[in-house]
Structures are given as structure tokens and as C-alpha cells.
């Protein structure tokens, strides 16, 4: 991507608030990649809003020198949609955890995809609920109960005998929802993650980046080493615009592809639709339609 003259350096996006994450938390790497990407995209802190729900990862907005909205658990997408609809000129970045986005927030995701607002959604996927101290999340990979494998029941507190459900495939479902930009990242590949974030932020429409961001405190299985061994870069000749192929790729079980998996350009956005509506009413500074006129309709 073409390099612009950087106005704000990555460090300019650091806030005074020091992250309260555990030493070795994957979220540190993600945060640094985000600083970098924001700088590379030439964002203005005062024209940018970082939105989140609740979770370790959702504490991120406070650590960024930009406007922030740290809402309640699972509601980051609706809040971000409202911000973007109200102020289309702002850059809106949503961050949060796998539990926040795929569990309690799951119901908002497909509808945000349908509306396709120009929002970037960065999920720090640690395959667990970190803040509540290590229960399974929808992306957890604890063996099924029937397999009877030994599980560290101190760590997997709500599944001491194994999971009773299969984990979800966040990439596959995003493709089915036709999220218009879908990528996978890894906090221990910070430069690559920054590059992906730059593409996502520049993508016009709703973009999802699911970044593996290990939780050393509560997840001893999906560690940085685990992901180093189980991820591979998507080949450069891969065509992310082929939806069926993207779906096929998302189902692969031999490892997790890192990079841009699916991309759809010029999908309609709710904001375009609404702008066009307003234009249809020749909107200008002083609205053409007045309350007097409206009241007349009911005489």
C-alpha cells in the first residue's frame, strides 16, 4: 500500500492510561499493531472513535489516544453503528473479545453485516473468557466431554469434564453473513496484523479482523506457540473475492490461514442508502421540509 506522509506517529495514539493486562497478554501485541495501523492510515485521534464492550480486550479504548466508548457486554456493534450513522465523517473502530462478539453479542453481527456501515471490527480472540477468569468461549477448543480426555479443570472452570458443544467458526459465519471484508490476524505477527488492519480500515464497509491473541493466564492450550504451529500465511495468489472458495478455506482443519480471506467491494452501505434518502429530500443546511409543512398534512 502506498505510504502517506505520517502526521501522527504510532506513539501519538498511546494514551496516558497504562494497560492493566497481565504480563504476556496477547492484547499488548494487538494494541501495538493498532497504534501502527492508525498511524499508517493517517488517522486523526480527534476524528476517531474506538468502541468496545466488556472484557479484558474491551478495556483497549482507554489505552488509545482517541475518543472512546467502553459500553456494556456485547453491544459494541449497535453503539458503533449509531456513532457512524450520526457522524459519517468519523473513523469508527470496534474492538473486543471473542465472548463479547460471538456469544452475548452474536445477535447483532449478522444485522451489522446487512447494514454494512463503514466500521472496522477487531476481535481479540483468546478462545476464552479472560476477564471472568477462564471459562469456555464460543471459540474455545476444549475437547468434548465424550472424548474423556484429561482437562485441567482448574483452568476450564465451567467445563471440568470437557465441552458439551462444538466451537463456532467465526470466519465461516462471517462469510455467510457476507461481511464485506474478513481477515484473520495473529498478535505475534504484529507487522502483518498492522498491514491487515490498514486494509480493513481503508475498506469501505463493515470489516472483521479476528486476531488470535493468546491469554497466558487462563488458556494454556491456545498459546502463542500453539498458534505459531497452527497458522500459515494465505498464499499471495489466493482470490478473496470468490465467496465459495473463501468458505471452503474457512473450513480447512489443517491450520488457520492468516490474511484476508474474503472481500467484497462496493456492497451497499446503510449510510449510502440514508444519504441518498436525504438527498432525495434535497437536504441542505436548513432542511427544506419544515414542521409547518408537515403539520399541514393533517389539516
Amino acid at each position: 500500500m502506498a505510504v502517506e506522509t505520517v502526521v501522527f506517529a504510532p506513539k501519538d495514539f498511546k494514551s496516558d492510561l497504562k494497560p492493566i493486562w497481565c504480563a504476556g497478554c496477547g492484547d499488548f501485541g494487538v494494541l501495538n499493531s493498532l497504534y501502527k495501523a492508525m498511524s499508517m492510515c493517517n488517522l486523526d485521534p480527534e476524528q476517531t472513535v474506538v468502541v468496545s464492550g466488556i472484557g479484558c480486550s474491551s478495556r483497549l479504548p482507554g489505552f488509545v489516544n482517541a475518543y472512546g466508548f467502553h459500553g456494556v457486554h456485547g453491544r459494541a456493534l449497535p453503539i458503533a453503528t449509531g456513532i457512524k450513522a450520526a457522524r459519517p465523517e468519523l473513523t469508527v473502530i470496534v474492538v473486543g473479545g471473542d465472548g463479547d462478539g460471538y456469544s452475548i453479542g452474536a445477535g447483532h453481527f449478522p444485522h451489522c453485516a446487512r447494514r454494512n456501515p463503514d466500521i472496522t471490527y477487531l476481535i481479540m480472540n483468546n478462545n476464552t473468557y479472560g476477564l471472568t477468569k477462564g471459562q469456555v468461549s464460543p471459540t474455545s477448543m476444549v475437547p468434548l466431554a465424550t472424548l474423556g480426555q484429561k482437562i485441567d479443570s482448574k483452568r476450564w472452570k465451567t467445563t471440568p469434564y470437557g465441552m458439551v458443544e462444538e466451537s463456532i467458526n467465526p470466519i465461516a459465519q462471517a462469510i455467510a453473513w457476507d461481511v464485506s471484508f474478513i481477515a484473520r490476524g495473529f498478535s505475534y505477527k504484529p507487522n502483518q496484523l498492522a498491514e491487515i488492519l490498514v486494509q480493513a480500515i481503508k475498506h469501505k464497509g463493515f470489516s472483521l479482523i479476528d486476531a488470535f491473541s493468546p491469554c497466558p493466564t487462563f488458556n494454556q492450550d491456545q498459546t502463542d506457540d500453539f498458534y505459531k504451529d497452527h497458522t500459515y500465511d494465505i498464499p499471495t495468489d489466493y482470490d478473496p473475492t470468490d465467496k465459495v472458495r473463501a468458505f471452503e478455506l474457512s473450513l480447512r482443519t489443517d491450520g488457520y490461514p492468516i490474511g484476508v480471506i474474503y472481500k467484497r467491494e462496493n456492497k451497499h452501505s446503510i449510510l449510502d442508502e440514508q444519504a441518498s434518502l436525504r438527498e432525495r429530500f434535497h437536504r441542505d443546511e436548513a432542511p427544506l421540509i419544515t414542521l409547518e409543512k408537515l403539520l399541514q398534512k393533517f389539516v
Binding site: 492510561l17 485521534p45 480527534e46 476524528q47 476517531t48 472513535v49 468502541v51 479504548p61 482507554g62 489516544n65 482517541a66 475518543y67 472512546g68 466508548f69 467502553h70 459500553g71 456494556v72 453491544r75 456493534l77 449497535p78 453503539i79 458503533a80 453503528t81 449509531g82 456513532i83 457512524k84 450513522a85 450520526a86 457522524r87 465523517e89 468519523l90 445477535g107 447483532h108 449478522p110 444485522h111 447494514r115 446503510i270 440514508q274 434518502l277 436525504r278 432525495r280 429530500f281 437536504r283 432542511p287 427544506l288 421540509i289 414542521l291 409547518e292 408537515l294 403539520l295 393533517f298 389539516v299
Partner: protein, 597 residues
């Protein structure tokens, strides 16, 4: 008639009953237009069946030569288009009342004292269609309905001694594009209905209805429409909602009109998303609103709390409906007061306002936005099904009286001096930036936080910030409480003082008027601001009342209990939750009972 009135004035209550989906509602709407054209004031009340379609609707119209306060007591005239309807709502007809019924459908057991008019609507309508059969082509003929409503309208207008011309003009404009023959058929149907009634009149009694020369322009609107227009007047430019009876109409109205004002409406996937979007829009600097009813408001509880804690202005409309859980979606109630006041874990203050009349829906909505903006908090705005669907022909609101207030934005200096989003001020009110402003960067959060917005949990900080948030409401109560109470009735010491809130205002005023006409000394204080409660004004009023009566439409007396929490007053209560609004007479009875007790 339904209230003692002087001669030559008109006050008539019509009740139309028939199959829903059938023409009953449109016949009602037509009648409203014609009576309004006579210069009469109109006030309607409708109840809908539980069924999606089918079941009986009741459409009550009160027409009066001076301002109307309620849908009245018993009906002077009942127009029964089906038998079920007559069985369900017939007993609402006064003993000496007039019954007009579709004699093709059923024959009521006749009652002494009652005047009856039989009208074979289908037969007459079919005849009219036959008459033009040869003039219209097959396709159109197939789709051509027999003009039953028009026959009914003609009959009803004749019964009311109303002029036919306005109806004829209306029919012409309505059916013009369908061709001359159709117009002729309908006009002839109008007269056929009228004539059929005329023949039967003879010495029979007729309701007293006389035209009035009106000197002002009227708009025919209901509570939902006025509320939506009030929001537009307040500068609301972002709406998100999810459909629910009886609130959907607000969203539907705004979907159509808001883009014209440069605003957006989003139909969300649920009420949680709807409120979330509103909070985002408000944070970003736009005035936002959502509207729902009980079930949807219940789902919003968590984020109402976030709005209060993060100090975000937002207006949340609850068009109350009947019953707990899914309950009775098409009925009315004042049952959500507790939820509006207490629907929050731990404690965070929210303003609770209530609308009192169709016209007031406009003005109180403006108040709601002004208070939300000035005090940076969620405002719960309570309406209800009866008020929301109530149609009246009222004077258009005087827009020159609209005063719009906005959230206080920090000056450039304030921001450069090191901005504190949640500054702990004397009034409790801090300044609020919007993204894009220089030097205003902060993170809005529902976690306990210090003045800058950074998280903090120490006991001292927790109490300091909580006091700050609650202090705003003392400021409001003391500085503005007096604006939200209104008094009627006798001055000075009275036998009975009625204190109430919300959409019962009109029925209570009519009841107190009647009691005073009968010589009782009665006063009425109506409260629009429920939280914070204007306690000083209430105590002042109570001080001149020998007895107090608190009437409300819910099961446990929620407003009465709120008064117990906020005052030391002793009072009698009158509360029920049957799904229907008060009628003046039952309130009148209560007032006299209390006076006598």
C-alpha cells in the same frame, strides 16, 4: 347528553362496533371527518381485538361543540355491524339511547326505552352495485366492493341530522379516478342509507347534533403522531427502534418524515440494538430517541443504566400497553411506572416524564429532549395505548412557543485547560464534548470512573461520583419542578384533592367539573414529571385538601406508592388495570365517595 350541557350545544357519543378488518374502522374515520367538517370537536377511543384479523373492534367517537376531555361515559348512539360486537359493547349504550344495526346480520332483543333503527346494509349496498353493473367492465366489476360503508355513513349522517354535501364532495374526490359510474354509485349509496333511516324516523328520537362555526384551523392527529412531531421539533435527528404494538406507529411516522429533516431512522434487530444505536448517536452529538412498549423496555434496562452512568442524553418512549409479559398488547395501562423508576441494577438516576393528552404529547416530548440534553441522562417518556391511538381534531401547536435547549459544550479554553468530561460541579452537570472536538478526547464508560472518565473503584471516589450524578436531579427538582405540575378546580381549601399523572388528565378534569357542578369543592393537581418528583408543589397542593384521592390505571397503585416514598401524605387510592381507560363517571363516583367518607 353524556354530561349535563346547555341547550343547542352538542355533546354526543357514538359507538361503532363490527368485525375488524371489515369497514368498521374506515366508517369511523369517515364519520370523524364529517363531524369535524361540521365544526365539532372530536375525540375517539378504539379497542382492537386480540386476533390478528377478525374479532370485534369498537370505535367510539365523541363529538362536542366545545373542547372534549374524555371519550365520555355511555354511548348515545350505537351502530352495530355484527352480533358479537353488539353483545360485547352493546351494554355501553344508555338505556334511552339509539341503536342503529345491520338488519341483514342480526336482530337485537329490543329493550324498552331504547330507540332502534334497522338498516339492511348489505342488501342496500348490493342494490347500488347492481345499478351500475352494466357500466363497468368485468375486471373492475370483480374487484368492485359493494359500498357498505357509504350506506352506513349515509344512515349515520342522517341520524345525526348532518349535511350530506361534505360527504358528497369527499366521495367525489375519493372515487374520481375510478370513473363517473363509481362516484354515482357511492353518492347514491350515501342517500340510500340516509333515506332508509329517514323513513323510520317518524316520531322517533334523534341525537341532538348542531353544526358549529369554527374560527380556527384544526389538525386531526393521535398521540403517537404528536409525539413524533414533538421529537422532530426538538431537533431529534436519529431514531432507532423495533416494531411493537402500540409504539410502531411512531417509528413508521419517522421513517417517512425524518429523512426530509435530514435525519435517519434505523429499524434495529431488537430493542437492545435500538437503544445501543441511540446511545452511540447521542455520544456522537445527535439527539436520539427510541420508542417501544413494556417487553421492549424490559430489554433496554441494562443500557438505560449505561446511559445514566455514562451521562448520555437519550429519550426512551414507553407506549404502555396492557398486562405483564406479552399480556394484552392492544389494551391500555399505566403499569410501567415502576419499571421506568426502578428498572436498573444498583442505582442510577433517570428522568421520568408522562404525556397527558394528544396535544401534550407534542409539548412534553420537547420537554423530554430539553431535560435529556441539559441534565445529560436518559429520559423515560411514558405514553399509553389509549392516548397513542386517540384521534382528536385540535388546533395546530403554536411553533413560535417551541423552546429548544441543548447540552452544554465546553469552550475551547475549558478544553485546553485540561478537559474533565465528568467534572464534579455544584449542579452536578458537566460539559459534554462530541468526537471531532479539539482537546476533548475521553472514553465514555459505564464502569465507575473519576472526573476524567478513567476507571476507579475507591470508596471515596464511588460516593463522590454517585453524588455528582444524583445531584443533577436535585438541581432539576428545585429549579424546574414547578413547570411540571398543573392545577384545576377550586381555589383555597377543598374537600377532595385529586393527584394524578399521565393520560388520565382529561377524564379526571371532566369528573371534577361534574362534581363541582354538583356543589362539591374539588381540586386537581396533575403531575408530568414523576422523577424527580416536584415534592414541594405536591405538598403545597395537599395542604389545602381535606382528603386526597390518587387514581391510576394499574393494579398495585404505583404512583400512590411513589408518593409514599417521597412524601408523608395520607390519601385514598383508586386503581385498576382492566386494559381500558377511566370513564369520567367512575371517577366522579370515587370523588363523591371520598368527599362523603
Amino acid at each position: 347528553m353524556s354530561a349535563p350541557t346547555a341547550v343547542h350545544t352538542t355533546d354526543v357519543v357514538l359507538r361503532l362496533v363490527g368485525e375488524s378488518g371489515e369497514g368498521t374502522v374506515s366508517l369511523g374515520d369517515l364519520t370523524v371527518q364529517m363531524l369535524s367538517a361540521m365544526g365539532l370537536d372530536i375525540y375517539t377511543y378504539q379497542t382492537f381485538p386480540a386476533e390478528i384479523k377478525g374479532g370485534t373492534v369498537m370505535y367510539q367517537i365523541r363529538a362536542k361543540s366545545d373542547p372534549i376531555l374524555s371519550h365520555g361515559d355511555n354511548a348515545d348512539v350505537v351502530v352495530a355491524l355484527n352480533h358479537d360486537g353488539f353483545d360485547l359493547f352493546g351494554e355501553g349504550l344508555r338505556e334511552d339511547g339509539i341503536l342503529l344495526y345491520d338488519s341483514d346480520v342480526f336482530t337485537p332483543r329490543s329493550e324498552p326505552g331504547r330507540t332502534e333503527y334497522a338498516l339492511p346494509i348489505s342488501t342496500l349496498a348490493r342494490a347500488e352495485k347492481e345499478a351500475v353493473r352494466h357500466e363497468v367492465e368485468g375486471e373492475q366489476l370483480k374487484r368492485l366492493p359493494a359500498p357498505k360503508n357509504i350506506v352506513g355513513l349515509g344512515a349515520l349522517l342522517r341520524l345525526l341530522s348532518a349535511p350530506m354535501e361534505p360527504a358528497e364532495d369527499y366521495i367525489r374526490t375519493l372515487f374520481e379516478r375510478k370513473g363517473e359510474a363509481i362516484v354515482r354509485m357511492n353518492i347514491s349509496a350515501l342517500h340510500s342509507g340516509a333515506d332508509h333511516v329517514a323513513e323510520q324516523i317518524g316520531s322517533k328520537r334523534l341525537p341532538k347534533v348542531s353544526p358549529v362555526v369554527r374560527n380556527d384551523v384544526r389538525i386531526t392527529v393521535n398521540g403517537n403522531m404528536m409525539l413524533a412531531m414533538g421529537a422532530i421539533a426538538s431537533g431529534m435527528r436519529f431514531y432507532a427502534g423495533y416494531p411493537i404494538t402500540p409504539a410502531s406507529e411512531i417509528m413508521e411516522f419517522l421513517a417517512k418524515e425524518l429523512p426530509g429533516f435530514g435525519g435517519d431512522m434505523i429499524q434495529a434487530e431488537d430493542e437492545i440494538a435500538a437503544l445501543g444505536m441511540c446511545l452511540g448517536a447521542s455520544f456522537a452529538g445527535k439527539k436520539s430517541m427510541t420508542a417501544s412498549s413494556g417487553p421492549g423496555i424490559s430489554l433496554m434496562v441494562e443500557q438505560i443504566n449505561l446511559a445514566a452512568q455514562a451521562e448520555l442524553p437519550v429519550v426512551i418512549v414507553d407506549v404502555q400497553r396492557g398486562g405483564a409479559s406479552t399480556g394484552m398488547p392492544t389494551k391500555t395501562s399505566q403499569g410501567d411506572l415502576n419499571l421506568a423508576l426502578y428498572g436498573v441494577h444498583n442505582e442510577s438516576p433517570r428522568i421520568v416524564l408522562t404525556t397527558t393528552s394528544v396535544e401534550d404529547c407534542f409539548w412534553t416530548t420537547i420537554d423530554a429532549f430539553n431535560l435529556a440534553e441539559v441534565y445529560q441522562c436518559p429520559v423515560m417518556l411514558l405514553s399509553d395505548q389509549a392516548l397513542a391511538t386517540r384521534k382528536m381534531n385540535i388546533p395546530a401547536p403554536d411553533l413560535s412557543k417551541v423552546e429548544v435547549r441543548n447540552r452544554q459544550v465546553p469552550s475551547v479554553e475549558q478544553r485546553e485547560a485540561g478537559y474533565l468530561r465528568y467534572e464534579d460541579t455544584e449542579t452536578g452537570i458537566s460539559t459534554m464534548v462530541a468526537p471531532g472536538m479539539k482537546g476533548g478526547i475521553y472514553t465514555s464508560t459505564g464502569i465507575e470512573h473519576d472526573e476524567s472518565g478513567d476507571p476507579g473503584y475507591t470508596p471515596v471516589l464511588a460516593m463522590k461520583m454517585k453524588r455528582k450524578r444524583f445531584r443533577k436531579f436535585e438541581t432539576l427538582r428545585i429549579n424546574e419542578g414547578h413547570k411540571f405540575v398543573k392545577e384545576w378546580g377550586d381555589e383555597g381549601e377543598v374537600e377532595v384533592g385529586v393527584i394524578a399523572f399521565g393520560s388520565t388528565e382529561g377524564a379526571i378534569r371532566e369528573a371534577t367539573d361534574r362534581a363541582r357542578a354538583e356543589g362539591f369543592k374539588v381540586a386537581h393537581l396533575h403531575v408530568r414529571l414523576i422523577n424527580p418528583l416536584p415534592v414541594d408543589q405536591i405538598n403545597e397542593f395537599a395542604a389545602r385538601c381535606k382528603k386526597l384521592l390518587i387514581p391510576e390505571l394499574n393494579f398495585t397503585g404505583q404512583f400512590a406508592n411513589w408518593l409514599r416514598v417521597n412524601t408523608d401524605l395520607k390519601f385514598e387510592t383508586f386503581h385498576k388495570d382492566e386494559g381500558i381507560p377511566f370513564i369520567p363517571n367512575e371517577l366522579y363516583q370515587e370523588i363523591t365517595r371520598v368527599a362523603g367518607s
